[in-house]
């Protein structure tokens, strides 16, 4: 019950944070010199055409009026109309957010699926070959530019070996599955179209690996150091002295206790990944939020920038809340 009160309190505390974020984003995006109307009407438009756009999008009003108008719409669930795409921002987000979510989830899965075992191995076999290999993988991960890695992956696995498909969420000739969630893996499975399901998965591999590589390296290092700290504790020695198998000692006793820093980093990584993986999305022609927001910034599409910021900051707040709640489950001594 106490945790429920805690969650409600945190949700209420998030409201002023989000309002603050909206004010800041609004001020900063409007402070950029430039007029979106000039960008929309095309390079040769007359002053009258520019004026008509300004009026249509309320850009001729003073900034505080524009902000209040925006917040009034927001209170009714209306994120405004994209200046560039001439359609509601909510529709744009509904199109682009699932692609990012799918990529992010796949990347996080890879991060944890590869990063945690690698970190554990490095800790258990400290200063031995496995540890050195894990360290080299991590250092390469942290220092490889994503842009270069993505192109190399495509060049090798798509262009030369032909093992995996090229960019995009689907093959050129395939139509998307009927949208229920917008996550193609789930939609294809729900439709029972297993050929499409396989296609979607194979398209996910390269971008997800590319995106996860940096975070995978970080997670490996964190798991390694926290496992080393835990493995030196007295209760681990006791467990070993009691004759428990190494597997049991590592996974039952040490691993769970070393998870707290890993969960923190995984949560932060998820937030960053959701914020838009612009480079990965660009290289792999992945129609996600990263590319959408960069295009929006380039054309000063204020409603789109605001919509994205609000979604990203809400995600951050929600992820942090989940991480805090997870702490309590991982370590029963933590109470709220």
């Amino acid at each position: 019950m106490r945790i429920l009160t805690y969650i409600i309190k945190r949700i209420l505390a998030a409201i002023p944070v989000l309002i603050g974020v909206s004010i800041l984003t609004f001020i900063i995006s409007h402070a950029i010199p430039g007029d979106p109307a000039l960008l929309i009407v095309g390079p040769k438009a007359s002053k009258a055409a520019v004026e008509s756009i300004r009026k249509e999008h309320g850009l001729d009003r003073p900034m505080p009026v524009q902000y209040l108008r925006y917040m009034r719409g927001l209170a009714q669930g209306d994120l405004g109309q994209s200046i560039r795409n001439h359609r509601p921002v909510t529709s744009d987000l509904a199109d682009f957010l699932p692609a990012t979510l799918e990529l992010t989830m796949a990347s996080l899965f890879l991060c944890l699926f590869i990063g945690i075992p690698l970190g554990i191995l490095a800790a258990v076999r400290r200063n031995r070959l496995a540890d050195h290999v894990a360290r080299v993988i991590s250092v390469i991960g942290v220092s490889t530019p994503v842009f270069w890695l993505g192109l190399m992956l495509l060049l090798l696995f798509y262009r030369h070996l032909g093992w995996l498909p090229g960019s995009g969420r689907l093959d050129v000739t395939s139509s998307p599955p009927i949208g229920v969630t917008g996550l193609y893996v789930i939609d294809a499975a729900l439709a029972g179209d297993w050929a499409l399901f396989k296609e979607v998965l194979s398209h996910l591999i390269l971008p997800a690996f590319c995106l996860s590589y940096v975070y995978l390296a970080v997670i490996t290092r964190i798991v390694r150091s926290s496992m080393i700290a835990v493995l030196g504790q007295d209760y681990i020695t006791t467990a070993k002295a009691n004759g428990l198998s190494t597997f049991r000692v590592i996974f039952k006793h040490a691993f769970k206790n070393s998870l707290i820093p890993t969960v923190t980093i995984a949560g932060l990584s998820l937030g960053e990944l959701l914020g838009g993986a612009i480079l990965t999305e660009t290289i792999f022609a992945w129609p996600g939020m990263g590319k959408y927001v960069v295009d929006s910034i380039n054309s000063l599409d204020f409603p789109a920038i605001m919509g994205f910021t609000l979604v990203a900051s809400t995600a951050y707040v929600a992820i942090n809340l989940c991480v805090d709640v997870l702490y309590a489950f991982l370590n029963p001594r933590i109470r709220y």
Partner: protein, 515 residues
């Protein structure tokens, strides 16, 4: 062990997809492009990347001629069978071709044309400017439309071939929400009588056009066109080499030589009407003197830029009207690199130790290099050139306000008429972002280009523009850099592609086929 078993199962499962190549069949053309569509409404869009999808879905009164596989800038009848124009150039009467229908059976008649042009004008966005000379339109009978202009307007017929003059089904009026003139509906749907229709648009991924086998004109040879959005040049190149796509646009120049070595790919080069130039702010105290501006024009190494930055894919501009457009003069004065002459001019003008700033954006991959070349070139004549790279919206704001010394820019005409260069660039009434971006003002030039604007006599217009060009070259309000070559790499199996300099980034899907 369990982990390894699981991993093996996953790899086996995915391996069974055998995803090596996904080449579409010969009835389907796949084009990889760099940018998604923003809107499909012909009355709203000012973007060639949108027009690529919109243009093949609609008919217009006139279309650009194609002769021996070459796209020309002259127009010929399309939905209009014929037309007459009154002697004063004010009244145009169009006879509309009978038997053309929209998908729902609604006939394309005089009323449909009137509705479409009226709609574009009423929306009042970019496309409206091109046909802004229209005063009134009357459907004389079902298939005769009379258009009266506010004033005689030389390029009028050419403007009817632009995307904004596409003929929309008048029934779309029923799809209007409030006062929006069906903008919300037409932003996401097409409703025209052209050879193709859009059957799918998955944002950020692809747009699928389906051919209409019962199209009234030449029947499309393809059944389907898939336009795939891929923002990264290397990605498009790989897909072309792999055979997943048939045409790849906007491939970076440095990647072209590798494509040329591939026997499955044909790299086409076409002289385009796209030019790049430098706006010299004539209202700026430091640049008010024409001699100073001439010195700058003499200081630039044009051929060096073309050979090394563009790797030969361009031709130095001669005068403001590009080669290939009527009104272009092969004998007009052209500046070439002459450091001594430039220094002399600066000295005579008392403008030594000049310090200027060149602003530019990242819109073009080559601009950074061109800015650096110009910095070195101007240093040779004793001018210190500061470079300032800025975001495109900021740049455009500065141009509109005249808040710059020099600025790098690009321009392509919307319709095939020298008006697009001579009136937009030099008429002082268009100062700022609309066109006269050097804020140039010469009363005699104003008079000449305005006279040419309202004349319907091509020969007279040529003479007027010709006289204006001589004055302009001496006044040097711009540094005329080069005319770009458009590079279109396509698979050798693609047949019938026609490049039209007026339809940049657009394709003649109706006559393309694959072998």
């Amino acid at each position: 062990m369990r982990f390894l078993t699981l991993l093996s199962c996953l790899l086996l499962f995915l391996g069974s997809t055998a995803p090596a190549a996904f080449a579409a069949d010969k009835d389907t053309l796949v084009v990889s492009v760099s940018s998604d569509i923003h809107t499909m409404d012909p009355g709203v869009s000012s973007d060639n990347y949108d027009w690529r999808q919109i243009y093949p879905c609609y008919d217009r009164l006139v279309k650009y001629k194609v002769e021996n596989g070459v796209g020309l800038t002259e127009v010929e009848p399309m939905a209009a069978e014929s037309w007459t124009v009154s002697e004063d150039g004010l009244k145009w009467v169009f006879k509309i071709r009978q038997g053309i229908t929209f998908d729902d059976g609604t006939p394309l008649n005089a009323e449909a044309v009137r509705y479409s042009l009226d709609r574009t004008l009423a929306i009042g966005k970019g496309p409206a400017d091109n046909i802004g000379a229209i005063a009134t339109m009357v459907a004389v009978d079902d298939y005769t439309l009379e258009i009266t202009l506010k004033n005689p307007y030389g390029p009028f017929l050419q403007t009817l071939a632009t995307n904004g003059a596409s003929i929309v089904n008048p029934k779309t009026a029923q799809k209007a929400v409030g006062d929006d003139k069906a903008q919300a509906f037409l932003a996401e749907n097409v409703d025209g009588s052209g050879p193709f229709k859009v059957v799918e648009w998955t944002r950020g991924q692809r747009c699928v056009l389906e051919a209409k086998p019962d199209y009234w004109g030449d029947k499309p040879r393809l059944k389907k066109v898939i336009i795939r959005f891929m923002s990264e040049s290397s990605d498009r190149r790989m897909a072309l080499e792999q055979g997943d796509v048939d045409i790849a646009e906007n491939i970076l120049i440095d990647q072209i030589p590798a494509l040329e070595k591939n026997k499955d790919i044909v790299v086409n080069r076409f002289p385009s009407q796209m030019v790049e130039y430098v706006y010299v702010n004539c209202q700026n105290e430091k640049l008010k003197n024409p001699a100073v501006r001439q010195a700058l024009s003499y200081a630039v190494d044009y051929q060096g830029i073309i050979d090394h930055v563009l790797q030969g894919n361009g031709v130095q501009m001669r005068g403001p009207i590009p080669d290939g457009m009527w009104g272009h003069r092969k004998d007009v004065f052209q500046y070439t690199l002459d450091v001594a002459k430039a220094k002399e001019l600066l000295k005579a003008a008392g403008a030594e130790n000049l310090e200027l700033t060149l602003i530019y954006s990242e819109r073009r991959a080559t601009w950074e290099q061109i800015a650096l070349v110009m910095q070195a070139n101007l240093a040779d004549i004793g001018v210190k050139l500061n470079l300032e790279l800025m975001a495109n919206p900021t740049l455009r704001d500065k141009i509109d306000k005249g808040d710059f010394d020099l600025c790098l820019g690009a321009w392509s005409p919307d319709f095939a008429d020298p008006y697009m260069f001579m009136n937009f660039w030099f008429d002082s009434a268009k100062a700022g972002l609309p066109g006269n971006r050097s804020f140039y003002k010469n009363d005699h030039v104003d008079e000449l280009v305005r006279k040419a604007e309202v004349s319907s006599d091509v020969e007279e217009r040529k003479k007027l523009y010709s006289e204006a060009q001589d004055i302009i070259m001496q006044d040097a309000p711009y540094i005329f850099l080069y005319q770009i070559q458009t590079i279109v790499p396509l698979r050798a199996s693609v047949q019938g592609y026609v490049f039209n300099p007026m339809l940049e980034s657009m394709y003649n899907f109706e006559s393309i086929s694959k072998k």
